[in-house]
Symmetry: C3
Subunit: 350 residues, 3 copies
């Protein structure tokens, strides 16, 4: 993987207010202050790392305008308003170069059902399978080995990575992004005991991803028993997350890796769920709720709460309980010595 | 996705005892009481939602025979013995319509090894790969991009969804159902330190799924070190579950999403494991055991126990400990004040 | 699946010091003492199972040289230095027979970009996709439906199982082993709030697996925001593990199933992470650290520590807290009775 920027290009991409120093060799990488070499760009994104700037071997460093240090011999400082934002601007340029949107067209190895409706402005990569009645909007990108099931829809500009799978009848909105191995529309886990057997309850609903939803690698979203499992506009889901049937997630949520949400639970807007957290079924979680990593939510949560632990409770209480739990060895001893002291007092009193 | 039922069809499918009202327009969806519109069918499955019936805009509602309400203007009630069961009957009809069993035959893009034995009554979809010596029974359905390894067997009527993978030599029984991305027969995680290195222990066993086993999306079941990893008849496994090498799971178990079972553990019949739970290796878990969500089982569990927490202990004890833990702030204060009071008493006594 | 060894072959493969008994029928399976039948080989790997030898129906049993028992009628003992190691030797022979390294060559159904560099000594199975500029070294094996992205590299002798995916520009070292469904190089979960929206931060780094790394089924390793996510030489990762962007894992670590490591965390060499454990982001975990199953590491961990629980703390403390927590019902009662006793003493004293 190679990137290459001359200093004047860099300065332009990051909107540099001033340039301290000069160089003719191109910059060919981006790295942290401690790991960067003379051909790398680095950045001071957080004031606590300011002391690392002086020792950094980076060829070019993005620093805040007011940063007091000076570049070392052969090094360049690009002074910007916000180094972290400036870096994101540069990374966008790099991304466009390294991951150009592939040209429209269908790879000859793809298997497209006769009844599918593929926009001429969509890209369908090698070994993709598009089922009967499926619709792909303009600017859709299916990398390799993507499967879009029968009568499923993928909206304009969505980008599905290698091996992503969209089940029959499911709906992916516009500008969504599915990482490799994502499964949209597996059957919900619905069974009922019938005598000695466990009978499957047919799952005839769908999954709807609204616009601008992103889903991480190998995450699984189950179709509804009937009706819809819904992920709201702009919500981002990390890797290996499980969303069960009939769950409804609001807009602009962030759901970290390996989280699981059980059936029919409703999550509000702008919630943040920490990694490996779980939410039991048939619950209501309000808007802007935060759930700590590894927590287990077993009851409804009101809007704006921050809950933690298993079973999850308000963060403040949970933290105190953890701290006090670790003092249990002392507490047991103290109670024992109190008992002994009381015995002594009682004996004296007799 | 579209379904369409006229009222007389609906009444027949759900076994309606009586019909209150009439309509000529077909019903085209199924939804909950609160979300249904005039063209949807809904149902009163749980008496606690009875008050929602009056306000529901559903065109048709399945209600218990004895339900006292009356349909609103233009609405129809179908009176049945058990609305939930009646709905399942209807969903089976819908499923048959929306997911008809594909016709026998092999898609021309599938790659079938010369030595594979594919029943003429099996369906092999696009871009499937069938290894040498593999056997597919009659009525087997492989959707798209399914891989059945060398000398693996898939029994009659099993249905493997997009991207499911069955490893070499593994055995899938009859009427099994594998969701997208399932991995049957990955290598067990077996290593031994040899000097400074970690050496892989060859994993030459297989995985056997007995009849009527279902496995959820992206779950992984490892082949045995030798001999077999076994999932017993009728057991249902949810999404993103990990089953390690040499595990043996009994029949008719329910294993919820993101659960992990470590190597060589034996699980009895009719057990229920909650979501995100874990069972350590080399344990014996008896029949009909229940493990709560997110619990971690670290020792053998006798039959019929319900264990919870990490490390898991009997549910009643675990619940009391959780409740009392939250009262630790009070307990610490109380002990402090007891100590102060005792001091005072002791001082008085002197 | 069938293996077949005559007694003299077995004795040779396991390096038997002596053979007690004889048989002419071949041995066709390997099983545990309790499950083996007359055509199976079994082994006494752990002295605690010594009593099972007498009752075992195994046709051949690997026993320690000094084992005092005698084979039953028709049974053979192979006496060896270390039965467990002898079995591993035999399993290696079995593995070579059942999973022979496939011959070099490219299956006609594979899709190889013109600009890819595939060693003539590599095997590329059916329906694999190799992107432009990708390089496959000699003795590489790609089973079926493996995707190696643009400009990615797979080093000599690495073996990628069905459906493994290596993202664009990523690097897989020599002799690595990727189980089915592995995702190397999905995009890191990086977003920033911009007004009402959540904006994606481009992830333009790569993933580097050093030599001899193994990754389990459906595990996901995210590419770095920039620079590299690294897994060190010889480290083994189990199934369904999540490694976030910019994580750096040292060499010779063992990471059990369903573990998650959040962004930018650095793990030392020879660490062991238990199943379903989690490590928060931006932490430093020292060499040879052990993390218990289901633990949640929320702060830096010094070298050689063994931490457990959530939030993780030293194992000894965590164990005491668990034990004492279960005695909380007694403690609350004891404090109540102390309070009552103190009241009584105080009353007497008045």
């Amino acid at each position: 993987m190679s990137v290459s920027f001359h200093l004047d290009e860099l300065a332009r991409h990051v909107g540099a207010a001033s340039v301290d120093g000069g160089r003719t060799r191109p910059v060919t990488g981006v790295s942290s202050l401690s790991e960067a070499g003379p051909d790398d760009l680095s950045f001071l994104g957080n004031p606590k790392y300011a002391s690392e700037v002086a020792g950094s071997r980076a060829g070019v460093i993005l620093v805040p305008k007011a940063f007091e240090g000076r570049p070392s011999e052969g090094q360049v400082f690009l002074r910007v308003d916000n180094p972290s934002y400036a870096l994101a601007l540069l990374c966008s340029v790099i991304e466009s170069a390294l991951w150009p949107r592939p040209a429209p067209g269908v790879h000859p190895s793809a298997v497209i059902s006769p009844g599918a409706d593929v926009s001429p402005a969509a890209h369908v990569g090698p070994l993709c399978v598009i089922g009967e009645g499926a619709r792909l909007g303009p600017d859709v990108v299916l990398e390799a080995a993507v499967h879009v099931g029968r009568h499923a829809t993928v909206g304009q500009g969505s980008w599905l990575k290698s091996g992503a799978r969209v089940g029959d009848y499911c709906v992916v909105g516009s500008r969504c992004r599915l990482q490799p191995g994502v499964v949209i529309g597996s059957e919900g886990f619905g069974y009922e005991p019938v005598g000695e057997d466990i009978r499957r309850i047919p799952q005839v609903g769908i999954v709807v991803l609204e616009d601008d939803v992103e889903v991480g690698a190998n995450s699984t979203l189950d179709r509804a028993r009937f009706s819809r499992t819904v992920v709201g506009r702009g919500t981002k889901i990390d890797n290996l997350v499980q969303i069960a049937h009939n769950v409804r997630i609001g807009s602009q949520c962030m759901i970290a890796a390996q989280t699981g949400i059980a059936g029919s639970t409703v999550i509000g807007d702008r919630c943040v769920l920490g990694g490996q957290s779980g939410v039991a079924g048939h619950l209501a979680v309000g808007d802007r709720v935060r759930v700590g990593a590894q927590s287990g939510v077993l009851e409804d949560v009101p809007a704006d709460a921050f809950v933690n632990g298993t079973p999850a409770c308000p963060l403040g209480l949970e933290r105190r309980v953890v701290v006090l739990s670790r003092r249990l060895p002392d507490l047991f001893k103290k109670v024992d010595s109190l008992a002994a002291a009381l015995d002594a007092v009682a004996k004296d009193a007799r």
